[in-house]
């Protein structure tokens, strides 16, 4: 009877076998050791992540399987060579001085499904989405801030030119009106895909200069038309148009700190999940790499979904854009998780090398 000892890797529970040894040849087993007790003729089954590796005792021996199973050596009764058990071919960071540290498997028959942590995977996807929403809030806050500043600067400059006589009042009013529209369009392009879709879903009107002149004339001089105004009164109407082009809604601008707070809250949540995952992992470097991969995938998925919003949802479809954004982020994170599972060994090797290098 042989004992297989080893540990689960930090990332996805891959089982690594250190060394088989005869029963009773080593110290009493610790409760946290992973133990499998096959007889030489027994077929061993290990579920690793979502794939099952099965094989006879011989299957662990050939060196070409060593990339996943690093088999140390076989010992038979009474041939025990003094030395630590579970020594691996490559150095593995062991942070608490205990070799062969691995969680005890859940009670059940050998060959049962591994405890793939769906809850943690879902939390990773959720965190990736939260990171994408942090981008949305922070980007929209920045866009609004720039918008308010630019239209204010523009209106003040045009008004200054008109009052200094460098530009006629009528030309200044027309220019300010067109510039406000241009700055608005530019800001929408710079805002998030969700913010842009929300804005485009509302059909606005663009008034002509003549309409604006009559509207402002009736506002400043109720009951009178522009044609009946004196020259100084007409100047006041044009200046009102210019100043109006620089005004924005204070209640919307007051949302900037809230958007920033929401964005930072989402980032904090994402960072909290990542720190927790790394903190509770055995191999912290490997876990950190996995977090980077998952969040990178989520960000890429969100960005791709945002770019495809116009193509998939059409203009002005805020609900579709939001749904696409969320689904894109989650799909990106899932794809990254799948990629990380496929290249688990490479990530492990890189983490080991990086740990040594660091």
């Amino acid at each position: 009877m042989y004992h297989a000892e080893g540990h689960r890797s930090a990332a996805r529970g891959a089982f690594r076998v250190g060394r088989f040894r005869p029963a009773g040849a080593a110290a009493a087993p610790r409760s946290h050791e992973h133990r499998a007790v096959p007889s030489p003729s027994t077929t061993l089954h290990y579920r690793i992540g979502v794939s099952e590796v099965a094989g006879s005792r011989r299957a662990f021996l050939p060196p070409d399987r060593g990339s996943r199973f690093e088999v140390g050596s076989w010992t038979v009764a009474a041939s025990y060579v003094p030395g630590p058990w579970c020594e691996e071919g490559t150095s593995t960071p062991i942070e608490d001085g205990t070799m062969c540290l691995a969680p005890s498997p859940l009670p059940g028959p050998v060959g049962s499904a591994a405890s793939y942590d769906y809850a943690r995977a879902a939390l990773d996807d959720f965190a990736a989405s939260a990171r994408n929403f942090a981008d949305v809030f922070i980007k929209d806050a920045r866009a609004r801030e720039n918008y308010v500043r630019k239209i204010d600067e523009m209106a003040k400059k045009v008004l200054g030119d008109v009052r200094a006589g460098r530009e006629s009042a009528e030309a200044g009013a027309e220019f300010a009106h067109r510039m406000r529209d241009a700055i608005m369009e530019e800001t929408r392009r710079q805002s998030s895909s969700i913010g842009r879709a929300s804005a485009e879903s509302l059909k606005r009107t663009s008034k002509t200069l003549a309409q604006l002149i009559e509207e402002k004339a009736s506002k400043l001089f109720p009951g009178r038309t522009f044609a009946t105004l004196a020259k100084s009164e007409r100047q006041a109407v044009f200046e009102e148009i210019i100043e109006g082009a620089g005004r924005s809604r204070p209640s919307v601008t007051a949302l900037i700190p809230r958007w920033r707070l929401l964005g930072r809250g989402c980032l904090l949540f994402t960072a909290g999940i990542a720190v927790y995952n790394i903190w509770t992992a055995r191999n912290k470097i490997e876990a950190g790499l996995n977090e980077l991969i998952v969040f990178g995938g989520g960000a890429a998925g969100g960005a791709l979904a945002g770019a495809a919003t116009g193509l998939v949802c059409g203009p002005g479809a805020p609900f579709c854009s939001t749904a696409l954004f969320v689904v894109g982020g989650i799909m990106g994170a899932l794809a990254a998780q799948a990629g990380a599972a496929i290249y688990e060994d490479e990530i492990h090797e890189f983490a080991t090398w990086f740990g040594e290098f660091w």
């Binding site: 929209d140 806050a141 866009a143 609004r144 918008y147 406000r180 700055i183 608005m184 369009e185 800001t187 929408r188 710079q190 805002s191 913010g195 842009r196 929300s198 804005a199 879903s201 509302l202 059909k203 606005r204 009107t205 663009s206 008034k207 009736s218 506002k219 400043l220 109720p222 109006g244 005004r247 924005s248 809604r249 204070p250 209640s251 919307v252 949302l255 805020p318």
Partner: protein
């Protein structure tokens, strides 16, 4: 002020449509001053609707359609297309609504502009 009617002909706006257009200005991304409020008050009076009817126009018709304009970085600032606004309000009236309490819906859609509406309401009530 006219808009294309169902048959394509131009029809004069009703009092309710005038009120909707005036209330929609509360949702524009621009700062309203005292003169603007007085202008809107006069427009709402010209609609000949009661305060209760104007509340319905604000809370249940215009706010649910336009509230998003004040939650985007660069919303519309000059005005909304009247025909589009009418079409959206009529479309929404025929839609099945989510089972949220009416008070919650009113609060959610109007929280950005409720201060301005209360101010306009006071001007209307002052006579």
């Amino acid at each position: 002020m006219t808009a294309p009617g169902p048959s394509g002909s131009l029809t004069p706006p009703t009092g309710r449509q005038l009120a909707r257009l005036a209330v929609s200005e509360l949702f524009l991304d621009t700062e309203l001053d005292e003169a603007d409020f007085l202008r809107l008050r006069d427009a709402l009076r010209a609609s000949h609707l009661s305060l209760q009817e104007l509340d319905e126009v604000y809370y249940d018709e215009v706010a649910p359609v336009l509230y998003q304009n004040l939650r985007t970085p660069a919303g519309a600032w000059e005005g909304f297309d009247r025909a589009w606004l009418e079409e959206r309000i009529n479309h929404r009236a025929s839609e099945r609504r989510l089972p949220f309490p009416a008070a919650w819906r009113r609060y959610y859609f109007s929280r950005s502009t409720i201060g301005d509406w209360q101010r306009l309401r006071k001007l209307l009530a002052a006579g």
